[in-house]
Structures are given as C-alpha cells and as structure tokens.
Symmetry: D2
Subunit: 348 residues, 4 copies
Amino acid sequence: MTLRFGVIGTGAIGKTHIDRITNRLSGGEIVAVTDINQNSAKSAVEEYGIQAKVYPDDKSLIADENVDAVIIASWGPAHAESVLAAIEAGKYVFCEKPLATTAEKSLEIVEAEMKFGKPLVQVGFMRRYDQGYKQMKNAIVNNEIGEPLMIHAVHRNQSTSENYTTDMAVVDTLIHEIDVLHWLINDDYKSIQAIFPKRTTKALDHLQDPQLFIIETQRGIVITVEVFTNCQFGYDIQCEVIGEIGTIKLPEVPTPVVRKNAAISQPILQDWKDRFIVAYDLEIQHFIDSIRKKGYPEGPTSWDGYIAAVTSDAGVRAQKTGQKELIELKARPEFYKSKNSPIQNLMS
Amino acid sequence: MTLRFGVIGTGAIGKTHIDRITNRLSGGEIVAVTDINQNSAKSAVEEYGIQAKVYPDDKSLIADENVDAVIIASWGPAHAESVLAAIEAGKYVFCEKPLATTAEKSLEIVEAEMKFGKPLVQVGFMRRYDQGYKQMKNAIVNNEIGEPLMIHAVHRNQSTSENYTTDMAVVDTLIHEIDVLHWLINDDYKSIQAIFPKRTTKALDHLQDPQLFIIETQRGIVITVEVFTNCQFGYDIQCEVIGEIGTIKLPEVPTPVVRKNAAISQPILQDWKDRFIVAYDLEIQHFIDSIRKKGYPEGPTSWDGYIAAVTSDAGVRAQKTGQKELIELKARPEFYKSKNSPIQNLMS
Amino acid sequence: MTLRFGVIGTGAIGKTHIDRITNRLSGGEIVAVTDINQNSAKSAVEEYGIQAKVYPDDKSLIADENVDAVIIASWGPAHAESVLAAIEAGKYVFCEKPLATTAEKSLEIVEAEMKFGKPLVQVGFMRRYDQGYKQMKNAIVNNEIGEPLMIHAVHRNQSTSENYTTDMAVVDTLIHEIDVLHWLINDDYKSIQAIFPKRTTKALDHLQDPQLFIIETQRGIVITVEVFTNCQFGYDIQCEVIGEIGTIKLPEVPTPVVRKNAAISQPILQDWKDRFIVAYDLEIQHFIDSIRKKGYPEGPTSWDGYIAAVTSDAGVRAQKTGQKELIELKARPEFYKSKNSPIQNLMS
Amino acid sequence: MTLRFGVIGTGAIGKTHIDRITNRLSGGEIVAVTDINQNSAKSAVEEYGIQAKVYPDDKSLIADENVDAVIIASWGPAHAESVLAAIEAGKYVFCEKPLATTAEKSLEIVEAEMKFGKPLVQVGFMRRYDQGYKQMKNAIVNNEIGEPLMIHAVHRNQSTSENYTTDMAVVDTLIHEIDVLHWLINDDYKSIQAIFPKRTTKALDHLQDPQLFIIETQRGIVITVEVFTNCQFGYDIQCEVIGEIGTIKLPEVPTPVVRKNAAISQPILQDWKDRFIVAYDLEIQHFIDSIRKKGYPEGPTSWDGYIAAVTSDAGVRAQKTGQKELIELKARPEFYKSKNSPIQNLMS
Ligand SMILES: [Mg+2]
Ligand SMILES: [Mg+2]
Ligand SMILES: [Mg+2]
Ligand SMILES: [Mg+2]
C-alpha cells in the first residue's frame, strides 16, 4: 500500500516534500496539490513530473477519496483550519509548524483528534529526527550523565529578512528549541524569562537581536537559550545538557578540516535548510512507515503542537513584561500517553 | 518507470539492499532473488514481505524479462561470471566489490561492456558517496589546497575473524582506499610497496597486522595507508590530503561529546556497517536515478573495478617481495572517458 | 636589584609562591616569612632551604627594611589589614584574592594607595595571565569578532569540601569570572541575578549547586555564568564571547587525544591548581619585572579588587532576593586610569 | 649557588638563552660571552644589561674560572671543538643541536666525557620538555595504548630560506623527530628510507620538498615522518603513536576557536620559535637544577647526540640511494645507562 498524499501549499517547503516523496523516499506518492496561488500548484506538478490533481482549495483536496494523507505547508495562520478539516475527514496530517498560531486553536485540534479516536496528526518538528539529538536523548535515557540539571542552547542564524520581528524570535526561531528540549529531557515547562542584551547593529532597527531566554521546567531544570538571528557567520545550533555526573553536547556538523593560511578551519553551514536535511527525510519516512505499519503517525503529536503554542505565548509575553512568565499547560490527556511513544522508536 | 531488480546473493549484504530498495529508497523494487542456498533466498522474500520470484541460479534470474537490473552480492569469486551474463543479456548491474578476483577477468568485463556499447555496470565502491569524501573532492577540484602532493590514510578495524589472512589486508580492506583515493585526486597509480611493522599480539599468528602501504601515482603523489584490522578500539577511517598550500582531512564521524569521569570523550563506531550507512543508500539511489534519467548508471565503472583489481594484484605481490611493485594499467579507453563523469554528478 | 619578598601566610598557596620565587622565577628572593602558626613559617623556611627571617606577625615582617615587597597569602579576612599596613610602610604588595572581604574595606585600601601617591598593590587575579584569555582579549581589542554582545561562561569544580557554602559560589568561585570578564570586555557591571536550578544530589544538603548568574554590563552586554562546584568530572573553565560578527572561545586545556575502548578521549584536569599553573608563574614574574623596570606593579590593581568586592556583595544579595541586584561602583579615579594599563602590557 | 654561564655564540639563539637566564629562570647568571663577531658579543652584553666579560674565543671563555657552564650556540660545525674543550676543562655544557656534524666526532665527545668520568653535557633537544610529548611518554610508559607498533609524525614549516638544501630536511628538520621519537618509545633505530613525492612549486628548484621518511626500530616499530618545509600555512608538528590497544596523539597548540565568516577556525603558529617556547625555558631550568642538585645535567646526553648523528648520516645516505639504509649504533655504554634517566624525571 502506497500512502497517497495531497499537498496543501506548494511554496518552497511544500515543494521539498513533493521532491522527497517522489524522488527519495519509499512508500508515498503525491496525488493532489493545492495552493492559494493556483499557478504555483500547477507548476509544481510540472516541475516534478507528477500525476497529481490540482485543487482550488484545501477543502476540496481533503475531500478527494484518493488522498490518504495531507501535508500542510501553507502560511502558518492557515494551518489550523486545514488540520481541523482533515481530522473531520479522517485523513492523516503532516503539519509544518506551527500547528496553530494560538494555544486555544491548538487545543481545539487536540480535542478534535481525541474525539476522532485515533492519532492522525504529526507536527513537523524535525529536530527529533536528527542523529545528534537522538544520540543525546539516548544517552540521557541511559543515565550516562545522571539527572539533567541545566541546558545551554544556542540558535544562531546568519541574517533575517526585514519582515522578521522581535516576537518571531520566539514563534519562528525559539520554537524549535521549545519542542526539542522538553522531548530531550522528558519534562514540562514551568516559566520563561526573556533578557535583551545590547543590540547588534547588523540588524534592522525594529528588531531586538540577540535575545536570551531562561526557561525553567517542572523538575527544576534551568535552560538558557541564546537566540541570535543576525550573527553574520552562519547557521549554528548548539545544545549542551548538564547532568549530575557529566555533560553531553550536540556534535558539530561534520565538515572537512582544512589547514591553510595560518589557520585550522572547517566550514559552518550558511543555509539552515542544509542543517537538518537528513532529518527532514526521516520525519516524512517515519510518518509514512508508521501509518503503513501501525495505522497512525508516531512522530510529534498535536499535544506537542499545543505545548509549543502555550510556551510561545508565554515567551512573547515575557518579551513584553521583562518578567518571568508562567507556562500553564492543561494536564496531559491519557490519549497522548497511551500511544506508543515516538521517543522509543527513535531510540531503537 | 520503476527499476525492477533481481538480487543475486541473499546473504547479509544482499538483504540490506533488499531492505533499502523496498523500504527506504525511491524508484526501485525487488522482483527476483536467487542464492546458492535456496532457503536463504526464500526466507529473504518472506522476511521483507516482497513479491519476488525465487530463481535457482543467476542465469535464470538474469533471463527473467521482468528484471531490469541485477544486484550481485554473492561470494566474490562468483561475481565476474554473473556480471558477464548480465552484460550478455543487456541488463544493468550493480556489483559489490570485487568486480572480479583477477585483473584479467576485470578486463574481460570491461571489453564485454564496451562491445555491448553502453555502460551497464556500477561497482559498489560506496565511499565516493560519503559526504566527507565528496566535500574533500570538491575542495581539491576547486583548488582550495593547491596541487595534491601526499595523502596519509588510515583504515582500522576492531578485529577480524580467523578466516582473515594477510593478503586480505589488500583485497578486502585496502581495496576501499585503492578505489576512493585515485578518484579523490583524479590520478592513476604507478607503484605500491608493503611494509610490515611489529605484529600486534591481539591477532592470530598467521596474520601480519598492522601493515603499511606506500603507493605512488603517475603524477608523483605519495600515499601512505595504515591498515590495522585488529586495532581493538573501533572502526576508524582517516584520510588527509596534503597540497601545495594546505591540507584537508576527512571529518570525524559526528557523535555527542561527553564530559565525564575526568575525560572529554566521544564514541567511535565499532561496527563498520554504520560508518557509510548513508553512502550505501545514496549509491543505490544514484544507480536507480541515473538509469531512469540517462539510461545508464553513473557511479563507479567497470574500469574502476579493473583499476582496483590490477592494484590489488600488485599489492599482494608487494606483500611477498618486500619490494616496490609496479601497477601497470592499460590505457584508459575512450569509452570510459566520454561518459558523463560520476564525479561531476557527485559534486553538484 | 633583586626584589626581596616577605611572605605573610605560609599555607599551601604561600608555599607555592616561595617555591616559584626561589626555584623558577628570576629577580626575586624570599627574605622573610610569617604565619599565625609559627611552626608553619619555620618549616617553610626549612622545606625550601631559604635564608629568611621568621617573624611573629605581619606588622613586624612589614617593618623589616630588607623587605621590599610582601605577598599576602593568609586567611581572606586578614588580607585588608596587612595590605593597609604595607601601604603605610610604602612596601609593594601582592595580595591573593580577596583584597578585602567588604567593598568598604577595599575602598579604604584604594584610598590609602592613592594617598601614598603611587601604585603599590597587585591582586592575585591570575587568569588575566592565562594565554587563552590573553589571546581572546587581543582578538576582541583587534575587533576580530565585532562589538561584544554576550558572554557564556562556565566554572565547574569536581567537588567541594563540607565547609563550602552557597554564598561561596560567589565570593570564592564566581569571583574569578567577575574579575576576568570585565577586563576581557573592558566594561563595568550594572546588575546581577542568581538563578537556582535543580540541585545535584552529589553535594551536601546545605549547598545550592549548581547556580546560574546573569550579569549585565553598562554597555548592555549580557553574561551568563554557570557555577557548578560538584560536577564530579573535573575542573572545567569555559568562556565564549559573542560579538556582532563572530564568537571567540577559550581553548580547551591541551592534552593528548587517545583512541581506545570505542572512544576518542582526552583527559580533563581534576585539580584546579594545574589549570592556571603557568599563569601563576607569570603573574609573579610580571609583578617583579614591572616593579624593577617601572617602579610599580602593573597587574590587577586595588581598584580591580574593589570592583570584585562590590560585585560579590551584589551577587550574594541576588542569591537571597532572587531579584536582579544593582552593582553600584564609585566613579573610577583618575589614578587608576592614568597608570599604564596592564592590559596593554599583556597584549604585547 | 648560582650557576655561572659563559655563552659561546651570541646570534639569535644565544641571545634567547641570555634573555631567559637573566630575566625568567632561577639559579643562573651570564658571566661571559663570546662570538666570532666580537661586536655581536659586545652588543648582547649591552642589550641585556648584564655584567659579563667578552672573550675573543671559546677557549679563553672556557678557561675563565668564573665560568661553571657553557652554552654552545655557535654555528653547527663549530660545536664539537667547543664541547671537547669544555669537557677537557671540566665545565658543564649545554650544546645546541647538533652535538657534532659527524657520527665520528659525536663518538669522540662521548668518549671524552666517559674519560672525564661524569656527565657534563646536555644537548638542546627541547621537545622532550614539551608538555604534550611528556604526557604521551607517560601514557606509553603506563601501557595505556599497549605496545607501540607504529608512529605517524609530521613536521611542517611555513617556508625555508634559499640556503636550505635537500639534506637539511634530515640534519636540520627531521633531527628533532629523530631525537624525540626514540626517547618516546624507548627504542633504537634500525633503518631509514627516504621517499621523494611530487615537489611543491612553492620551494626553490634545488630543493626536494616534501619528503617522506620510513624508519624502523630494533623492536620493529615502523615510523613515518612527513617533512614539508614549505607548506605555506604554518608551523605544524604532529605525532601519533599506534599501540596494540589504542593510539595517542600530540595535542594541537591551544588557541581560541573563532566562529566567523562561515567558518570555525583557530590560528596555527607561523613562527617555529613560539611552538616550544615553554620547553626552551624548561630545558635550561632543568640543566641548572640538576647540576645544582645532583652535580650533573640530567637532560638529553652526548649519547643522544651520537644517536642523532648516526641516524642523520643514514638519512642523508637514504636520500641519495633511494634504498633502505641501516642505522648502525655501537652498543650503549654502561655510563649512559646507569645515570638517572632524564625520562623518569620528566615523568614526575
Ligand atoms: Mg519542519
Ligand atoms: Mg559497497
Ligand atoms: Mg591567584
Ligand atoms: Mg634546542
């Protein structure tokens, strides 16, 4: 059984998914596409030489009985309605982040999914599929560094467009750490504080850059995350977990070491799209495989999307108040506990 | 068009190819299998749940008109006859190393392929598909370190079985460096010398381990390769090219860095199968893609298999004589020049 | 002219200074010693085979006209009175940290020194003499990473004795970062916040360990310092400065890299005394040399001791209040500006 | 007792020794100097403000009864006669490499010293005092990597002057590895082979650069040394010992790591004088200390100088013949065994 996909949103990210499902992965095919720009949808069909119907909107695409699963790669504010429509139709959903732009809407999705009665949704938090994070998770689970006490993380981008605003440091950038870190230490967040250092002169005036976030968890673990989106030098993701008996650090991206011009050096990636390129393939392959084998996706859940939304909201508040803001989650429903944990699968 | 594969040899390596084509890659399917042990072939079909005919031998499998391409993963000495039969039938061939166990037989394959009139054969030299080697190649082509003058390479295995003999250090182990290094520097070999250091007491008495090889190329580049197959600590592949203005070194395998017990440490792989696991996928995907797009495989050619065979022969002689042995290749036929270079594709 | 030293305090640290001046450095000799434990003073004389008078107390030692300079290595609370007595007598002073245990007493020393009319005092902040910090300072001064915006620092000790209390994380441990970081970025501090993560179970119950400090400077640079004094694995000092166009990080202590037992590893120091061992020699040699050449010590000044005391006080308050505490320094007197900067000497 | 030095040769290296004994080390002073250029000797006295007699030649300096020890830093071919004269006079000798330019002359010195009846001579092989090599030696002695089987070493200089000739790759450059490697593994050499790779175009036409040397020891350890003296990029010394159960590698020179301009980089030293700068201090301090404490120098001996001379001779022959040349040492006299080993002292 090949999983038949409809793709909602044929911009840059949507096209990378069409490409990987068509040309690199196993077990999936693209049978339908749509985009608010119909020409974009049509040209995607041509570009990848796929036999896919072009639909006028998400609703009609979702209604196509040949569509088993939808990939939502549209504009963020449009995600939630597409997800809800797909759940309504009983279709599987791979939704790029954010699942929804508010905590309320995320919760609505969670409730719709529980009402439907089985997991349908996977959120595009690809870092959990990165080999480095998986190895760290594995080491922590195996108690190699003892109980975690602190995390130091760094998220640096070379530069941002003029549309990038101060709150996007949370909702677009920090969001990846928000998801991956609670997964990494298997804990829930309690509060978040934002600190604004001296601004770089390399960013536009409207933007506070860099920013420092201090997040505390229910168990008392303290996380610092540097977000610096105009660091000039490259895309640089770092993460170190400090435990009772040792620390563990995400490996650097492997690149050849050159000795030349009085220096030992190795390249840093400049394009963020290259950093987790293997993880992007793995997240979709895992989505396909788990649906084919178990009947539901095993990756990051709607509940993970809800956690990210609640934490993001608190983070944006913290930027404004300068105070420690509480992160108040509802109790985790049994529905999101009983499911086979994606963590365990990633560990194997 | 899906490329339909017949697999000759369903041992460990054959099964990894069945797995990747069935479960991870795009554009291929397994339609036929055979093995000298028929039960092995049958159980492979069951294990992977594939719809594939089980043939009694390579000839009958090759004759199946549903088979577009064969993967040869049988015992090394059987490779050449299967390759020749496949060429005779006009089928594409992915042949694990060695292409043949003698230089003469390799040449016979080269001639058969030229007579057929288009490239059909790709040899399983997967290192060319490793990201680290590709980046090194790219840097050398871009003249980042100037003209290469020397290479220092290291090939260490944790341990060997009792069947592993002194000559296998060349034909089974060094062979990977033999292939990847001439590709890396785009040169041909001229001579090889073998030096036997003090033996490790951790290997069986019949085995000379470690060994050191000195290879010179036509352009005068001097290559040293340490082969140490019972190094105890892990699988460790190193390669540094020294050029006129700089050096470049293969990256270490990325693993998390742990601080614990008075040390900073990171794991070394112990199983060689993990080291080039991405490269194995890429070599087969490239085989499929290039055949589908261009009508012939673009990876390592029969001529590369011939180079490896001639160099191996000289290496084994060098082990015996203690002298510098010449590596005498025939002139490279136009047929293996005019073809689009796989190198260029790997660089893109 | 040999600089003739009197040593006040012949405990562990005092003896290392006797050793280095007697056996390794140039231009100094020990002519007098004292300790509240007279036997300790006498046995130090014997142990190092030096010809030094043993005095009953600091005052009589200072009064010896053969004494040009005193080294104060007594119990911290005794430092200030010895320093003041030495200034009164016009003797040079090398005082181990802290200069004084309160900001007020530090200020009294500063004023006494200014009244005397020339610099006499060097405080034992040896990190400024560490090659790694000096190289970082040099790079920052040369604008290699652009204007500094943030610092991430780490101060980890293997374990602490039962006498070590929560406030000592500031006054004994963080104090080294307090001194070296304002020197590194040539800025003054503005505020400090203390955050208490989940406690390690490897420390005694009375101790909060680890701790996280957030320090802001007048220019707006935000500094995070992890202080973790029972990290179990070793003595580990890290420092990264993040600038507008790049970052720079303190080098790891160089130790041989071993491949063994499925790991690549290198030792971490376990004894803090080994970490800055070269810097300890250099700080005393610099004290001797600058006095001999220029007539006053060029190293860290009384004013640096005052900065450390004020910042420590605020840090201890911050531990108690959980709030951001202001660091309020008096204006830097001209006296401590006009002097040739030790920084510039360290850079040459 | 201060050790009173006479310095023979006040060129660049001689002056660094005057500087360190006068300004940095403990227990020595310069009381006499000479140079074939008398103005050089006079100006050295002025430059360092020392009270030292200027002698017309080595013989008269050695005869000065105020001179306890001589430092020989003259032109290499003049070393042996000065050493012999000093032994004749019963003076201690610190002789820069080479001890003598021929094996015969080295042996003459060895015999003169034995005739005198106690060790007087230390040869300036400073690498044994480098912290990295000492740590490696220590690890090997402690059997951390098992019995050594191979060594890979690299000696790269940025560039050479036009006076540098092909044989100097042995007598001036490789000589440091010749000394330090037999000390490191506690073995004697058996043969040496020289291999000439493709020449760099960055060196003058008369020079073969790079060169590769293969040295075998009595125990069968095989050593490869790359000598590349116009590598353009910096001064780069590497050494890895491969043992039965692990490998150990000399640490890189510690320098801050910078992230900038799409790269992670750290500087490589360009000036060889900086690489072993601490070791130069330590070798002279050790010379002074051991003479003061034990009555003879404990560092590298005349016998080590003889080993270096015999091995160099064979290396130069190997450059010419292209063959493996034997390294034939006389039996080590009891005189050079019974002495307390400098190795053991370096280990403590
Ligand atoms: Mg994603
Ligand atoms: Mg292969
Ligand atoms: Mg100190
Ligand atoms: Mg020397």
